[in-house]
Amino acid sequence: MSRKKVTTSMLKRTIIMMVLFGVLAFLPMVIKLVHVQLIDADFYQSKAADQQTRDTIITPKRGIIYDRNMKELAVSATTETIYISPVDIETAEQESEVARVLSETLELDYQSVLEKTKNKKSYYQVIKKKVDEEEATALRTRIKESEIVGIHLAEDTKRYYPFGSMAAQVLGFCGDENSGLAGIEAMYEEELKGMPGRIIAAKNAKGTAMPFKYEEYYDAQNGQNVVLTIDATIQQILEKHLGTAVIDSGAQNRGAGIVMDVTTGEILALSTMGGFDLNDPFKIEDPNALSRIEAAPEEEQGQIRSNELNAMWRSKIISDSYEPGSTFKILTIAMGVEEGVVNANSTFSCPGYMKVGDRTIHCWKREGHGTVTLSGALENSCNCALMQIVSKIGNTKFFDYVTAFGLREKTGVDLPGEASGYFFKEAEFKNPNNNVSLAVASFGQTFKVTPIQMITAVSAVVNGGKLLKPHIVKEVVDQNGIAVKTAEPEVIRQIVSKETSAFICSSLESVVAGGTGKNASVKGYRIGGKTGTSEKIDLQKEGEPEKYVASFLGVAPMEAPRYAILIIVDEPSGSYVEGSQVAAPVAGKVYGEILPYLGIDPVYSEEEMTKQNIYLPNVVGMTAGDAKTMLSSKRYVNLKVKTVGDGATVTDQLPVYGTSIPDDSQIVLYLGGSAQNDLVEVPNVIGMSPEAANRALTNAGLMCTGVGVTNENGITATKQSVAPGTKVQRTTNVTVEFYATSSVAEGIG
């Protein structure tokens, strides 16, 4: 064996290897690392981050909509979104197990769920959205019991409206993605929606979560709450009476009403009836609309259905315009008084028509009103007087007032879809030869305004002259209840003086006290207002019955005007179509309920005081003598006592103990036997005067409670609570509505 020394050649060649492997060969690697780690690091980092993280959105809770007393009008209930991560579901048994559990608990199709479990690249397959807590809990239990993998629940929200259809067009509703589609929901979308949060979690190459916490959590910021100026109680009162009127009057195109605080511009109630259920906003219930859809050819039904839905969601107060008719006379007279062309002592003669240029324009009362005062012009709604006033105001001034009252621009109310009405073009109207337009405009014809414009303008006249911007949102508050936005009354301009305002107020009060508006009167309250009935000339079709808009614009209490009400009934088709018959009673009923609610006490006149109700005492069990003695005491002296039977003791009484009845009602005492089987037939009292109706009912053994206008002459019963011919228990109370009919005739014009 040789033990050779290392040769020089070997040394040289070893040194070559040293340099090659120990130095040179590393250079390309170092250069590559410089590129990847230093120069292009951002590119690789972001690519890596993309694949390593899973981004989950957390839906924020949508803000609550409150009424002014913090009653919840729109709330978000928690629901769950159910999804599966197919990457975690490995075997076929697991797939079918997942599909079985999901299809059973959520009432879904087994096959379609199974299909989704096979989408192996995905870790997020939505199975069902908006699952309520009950179903979600059931599912959670199933998952726990069977230790099933791959099913997940994520919290989501669903909008819920506790009052159902109340203020439907005001509140609006939300779509699938929880964003507002109409009304306040759409208008205040930014405030209500909040900021979605995110969970950025690390995931491994299989898409499942990392074993260790690599999680960044960005909290969702819940939406802000919106507090409306709407008062749910007033809204309900308005909707109750408006809804009844729409049905009773056979209104073909719905009705609308608004209650506004004239001192602040706050909207206390705003309604369009018939409405819709906010919890099911795509359901059409109106049978007329449904039959219109059905009547259309199949291919057009979708379009017609969507038109009907849009019509149903429209707020007539905000988005529709109408000819204000006689209610506009309030503004014309205010202009005249403010301009000094007429005053309280002015008189006008009404021959029943006026010649304007070459046109003859009739007053609604063809035979004429004779000589009328300024106040009387409003009370009787005399067109001739108005035409005379407006001729003194002149085209230019009139036009400028119309502009000043805000009738040529949107009011800027914070609701979506506000329309702007239609008035003449300036040059056209200010043409001095255009006297016909001016004359007709004086009583609110041939132009259109929106109801919100109209009530805003009238509010300005009665509040001392200030035009206020109407608003429906009182404040926006954050999650901690701290106001981030508060609405303050916004005065746009002073239009008329306090004196003018006071004069108009007193005129309006006399309209309700003794003029065309008496059907809006309420016992114990001073109410003002003006009726209006306008023909829908532009929509009139040949051969069809004439279409009208009946309206009433009221103000109360007149001691200090505060609450304005505008009631509009579109296309009434019953026996009465005039504002005085159709709209004024609604305003009266609403005032009768809301004024006490708003803390305004009634002040009764002497006569009203005597017609107080009494509460019946219990006389059952007493002897006949004791009962009669008791009922002849001072308190019950007016009661008419009738006895049935001949026993010694009172076995029953009608009405029963505790019933509140007028003090001159009849009370029946049964001496032996019970009141149970003592039935009488209800007579027909419609069209009778209050006295006749009362007599008819009393004679039949019933009681009569009159509502509506009961202390006026020339009023007749228009409605009775129990249909004629019905057999009812003796002394049953029949409520009869009395309204003035002939004495409030205002005509159309």
């Binding site: 064996m1 040789s2 033990r3 050779k4 020394k5 290392v6 040769t7 020089t8 050649s9 070997m10 040394l11 060649r13 070893t14 040194i15 070559i16 290897m17 040293m18 492997f21 120990g22 130095v23 060969a25 590393f26 390309p28 690697m29 170092v30 590559k32 690392l33 410089v34 990847v36 780690q37 230093l38 292009d40 690091a41 590119f43 690789y44 980092q45 690519k47 890596a48 981050a49 694949q51 390593q52 690390a202 995931k203 491994n204 190459a205 299989k206 990392m210 074993p211 690599y214």
Partner: protein, 389 residues
């Protein structure tokens, strides 16, 4: 005899401490990084997170004992084992074709009580066999008959058997180790130039003529053409490296090791190193490897005899080639092929054998000349008498 032994012992120097320290530092860092890189795999396989680490630690401890034991053996006594080692390797490589197992249908592993790759033994066998052969025939190395043919036959048999497994990277490594020993041993450089020329020509031909080769080349040059398929490993490795930036995400903070990187604790452990320790950490580790390689070759130049020198050259070449092949693949400089990183990659028997080889280098280092390299004109057989017994 006892006197002579005493004399011999007195002549024994200590280990080359620089080489030993480099090995221990790399092994230490390697173990720690292997722990970091392996615990996600262990977790997802349902094992304890320290599972791979504890096994590797055990083999490292055993390996260090073997290393020191081997370093005390006079390497010259092992020379006689060369033919036996070669014979055993060939037998094992044949056996693995029959009863071998592997993860992807290939046959690389033998389980004879201990599970190991015969190719690891073959690397050592080639080193011993060639070193022994050259130190016998060093004067005839420039001839074809002695300087080329025997080597080509041996490498042909070994590489041929490994191709059959198939184990391409192992064959490349063996051929590379053999070529380095041949080159240092004195085979005419023209043969190397010829082989390199042939290789380049063949490569160009393959790329221009074969669609398969073209596809591989494209994926190598730009792995993003097929990031979810053939380019997956390269792309994921680049994501890891790039995520590291200058300073890295910090020890233990690799995100790519969560099942994105294939073989995060094995072939792609260096990507985890780059991600966690950044450019600076990666460069320090490459520097340590470079120093180990330089020191290895330096020891070879100081070896007392040709056999020792060529043993160290072979072992150093093996460490160098594995390191460069691995880092080259991980950084995308080389096309993807399986090669482990010495001291870092998970693998018990492979680490054990590596440390045994380090023991041989240390053994050679104990008998280094203390002065400058020997004068080449000195008689080559002068050491013989001293060694004779």
């Amino acid at each position: 005899m006892t006197r002579e032994k005493k004399k011999q012992k007195a002549k024994l120097g200590g280990f080359d401490s620089i080489y030993l320290i480099l090995v221990l530092v790399l092994l230490g860092i390697g173990l720690v990084m292997m722990f970091s890189a392996s615990y996600p795999s262990a977790y997802y396989e349902g094992l304890k997170s320290t599972h791979y680490f504890m096994r590797q630690l055990g083999f490292a401890a055993l390996g260090l004992v073997v290393m020191f034991a081997v370093s005390f053996i006079d390497y010259r006594r092992l020379r006689a084992l060369s033919p036996l080692l070669m014979g055993v390797s060939i037998v094992l490589l044949v056996m693995v074709l029959i009863i071998g197992t592997g993860n992807y249908g290939e046959k690389r592993w033998l389980n004879l009580g201990v599970r190991f790759q015969p190719s690891e033994i073959a690397k050592i066998a080639v080193t011993f066999f060639f070193a022994s052969y050259i130190s016998t025939h060093s004067d005839k190395m420039r001839t074809f008959r002695y300087g080329v043919l025997p080597f080509v036959i041996v490498l042909g048999v070994l590489c041929g058997l490994m191709f059959l497994e198939p184990h391409l990277s192992g064959a490349i490594l063996i051929a590379g180790i053999g070529a380095v020993i041949m080159f240092v041993g004195g085979t005419h450089w023209g043969w190397f130039a010829g082989v390199i020329g042939l290789g380049v020509t063949g490569g160009i031909l393959a790329i221009t003529q074969l669609d398969y080769a073209q596809a591989r080349l494209r994926v190598w040059l730009d792995p993003f053409v097929d990031p979810k398929g053939k380019g997956w490993q390269a792309v994921q490795s680049l994501y890891a490296i790039g995520s590291g930036g200058l300073f890295g995400l910090g020890f233990g903070n690799s995100r790519q090791k969560y099942l994105y990187l294939p073989e995060a604790h094995n072939d792609f452990i260096f990507a985890v190193v780059c991600e966690e320790l950044g450019f600076i950490g990666a460069c320090i580790i490459m520097l340590l490897f470079a120093l180990l390689i330089l020191r290895g070759f330096w020891i070879a130049t100081r070896a007392k005899d040709q056999f020792g020198a060529l043993l160290v050259v072979g072992i150093t070449a093996q460490i160098a080639l594995q390191t460069l092949l691995n880092i080259g693949v991980v950084t995308g400089v080389l096309p993807v092929t399986g090669a482990s990183l010495p001291f870092f990659s998970y693998g018990g028997t492979s680490l054990l054998l590596l440390l045994a080889e380090v023991g041989i280098v240390l053994s050679v280092s104990r008998r280094m000349k203390t002065d400058a390299p020997t004068d080449p004109k000195q008689p080559e057989e002068s050491m013989d008498g001293e060694e004779a017994e």
